[in-house]
Subunit: 322 residues, 2 copies
């Protein structure tokens, strides 16, 4: 693959069929009335490992050849991609080594180990995870599965939009959270091909606006590591491959505050009865902000993940906290 | 209708089609592994008004004649039935007066008013809600929609089991929360007809074991108003019509503690990514208790509702509370 096409996403859909869940699409009269549109929520919080990341990881891992599978895979991630690669490796009958920061939450480390992966830790504040991950992979002869900057990973993530449009029909706009940009690159590739004229709206946390800045500059721009509750979107520069797709297909970026994300998580809890992690709620937060001008009639929103523990959820939505 | 049959439940399914949601069925490898069975969760927390109650209420209200609709309906309810009748009345173009306990959750009172109903309150621990409700209905010429002891209401609730078996095929057992017994009566009627040999297991909170006692006694037995977090199951005596069905079709009752219900709510949050209210989690709690002997292979569980506000949820699952 030299660039990403609808055919790549369709091939990924076949590849992950039976392994990944076809997640439900929820609708809500409350949300429709609040925003004045017909809204379709693609609920990747119900995906395996609790986030869309499994789609891309499984696509990439399961397409490896016998020689690569016999040696194993590696990934660096403090979050959902770690569990996604660990589970994908287990299902593909290979081993996985996951590089995680020393201070990663114990529950995430335990969940990753629970899928049979070996966890190797590094110091988040001094180490360059990409370099350490590559060194680890080279040293052990493992295939590195990147979290987003990989065409098979991007194609896998795009199956979320493919399924959504297949189920509900053409959309006028689709809101997608952007971290490294893999979910958006895949979804934009599928959605613009299947729904010509669709408006692709990326959503980033205010402090993690690297893609917004990069689109404005016409080239990839780096920012300091963002501080936001949306940990899955705390990325300081768009991917090279993802940005090449997104600069071509994304129509605009909306920025949301942490408080807007919290409000979207609360609304998802109380009205939709679903658990959404901060990054997973950012696209819904953008929709609810009222700042999207000329919102069209039929709007898709990707709810990208639901991995937030009970204690963290309580802490995030504590009205008595400062 | 003199007794409840599969045909009644099928007629209700037609009647509510398009008004009620066909709710999703979730499965979880985590839960399957924990209990050693294939588990199918019928998620009525995604039903309109957030609970199964809408099925029965809409069936009963929408079948009223023009004269009754012109006068309006009334209901007494600790929560979900109130919202169900309020919304059913709104959809059927009539008015509703709802009698609610003074200490009903604020979110439920607000939601009921939100559907355009008039709310009248009473003291849960001293007043006889059935008598007050009947007096209110008589005085204003309203048709009382009972929360469970009504064949059309029971038939409507049974559509949950009808849909579940239609979607996943025959089941070996079905766990259903019991409050007044309407959900169980409808579900048992449908499930035993569609899945001959199915084991119908009712679930009550420990302190609200009126149906367990009544089944043991062979007749309806009253208990003091139960104090339990499962407010939808805080009922002191089975219904007359529901008990006539349930004594015939229910194979056994499991009792669960409030702490077991809390644990089930937490598991639903963290692993299933869904919000379940205490009563809605009781059947799952019974399954997870490990006390159901000879658990068969294919087990259905009705998750009956998800109406728990964020504050109440935080309070219920606060690990620092006494």
């Amino acid at each position: 693959m030299s660039d990403l096409t609808l055919a790549d996403v369709q091939a990924a859909a076949k590849q992950i069929e039976g392994a990944a869940h076809r997640t439900p699409v929820l609708t809500s009269r409350t949300i429709d009335a609040l925003v004045g549109a017909r809204v379709f929520l693609k609920c990747e919080n119900f995906q395996r490992i609790g986030a869309f990341k499994f789609r891309g990881a499984y696509n990439a891992v399961s397409l490896l050849g016998p020689a690569e599978l016999s040696r194993g895979v590696a990934a660096y991630s403090s979050g959902n991609h770690a569990q996604a690669v660990a589970l994908a490796a287990q299902l593909a009958g290979t081993s996985a080594v996951i590089l995680m920061p020393e201070d990663a939450p114990a529950t995430k480390v335990a969940a990753t180990r629970g899928y049979g992966a070996e966890v190797v830790t590094y110091d988040r504040y001094s180490g360059d995870r990409a370099a350490i991950g590559q060194a680890l992979a080279d040293e052990r002869g493992l295939t590195l599965i990147p979290p987003y900057d990989d065409l098979y990973v991007m194609a896998g993530q795009g199956t979320a939009a493919l399924e959504l449009i297949d189920e509900v029909g053409p959309l006028d706009a689709l809101l997608v959270p952007i971290g490294g940009g893999g979910l958006m690159a895949g979804c934009a590739t599928a959605a613009t091909a299947l729904s010509p004229g669709i408006r692709m709206i990326g959503v980033e946390p205010e402090s993690g606006d690297d893609t917004a800045r990069s689109l404005a500059a016409g080239e990839r721009v780096g920012i300091p590591v963002p501080r936001t509750i949306a940990d899955g979107q705390a990325i300081s520069m768009p991917g090279e491959l993802t940005f090449a797709v997104n600069r071509r297909l994304v129509d605009g970026i909306e920025l949301v505050s942490d408080d807007e994300i919290r409000a979207a998580m609360a609304l998802a809890f109380e009205r939709l009865k679903i658990v959404v992690e901060p990054s997973g709620a950012s696209a819904l937060a953008a929709l609810l902000s009222g700042r999207i001008e000329h919102l069209p009639e039929r709007v898709g929103v990707v709810i990208s993940g639901g991995n937030v523990g009970l204690d963290r959820f309580r802490e995030l939505l504590d009205p008595t906290a400062a």
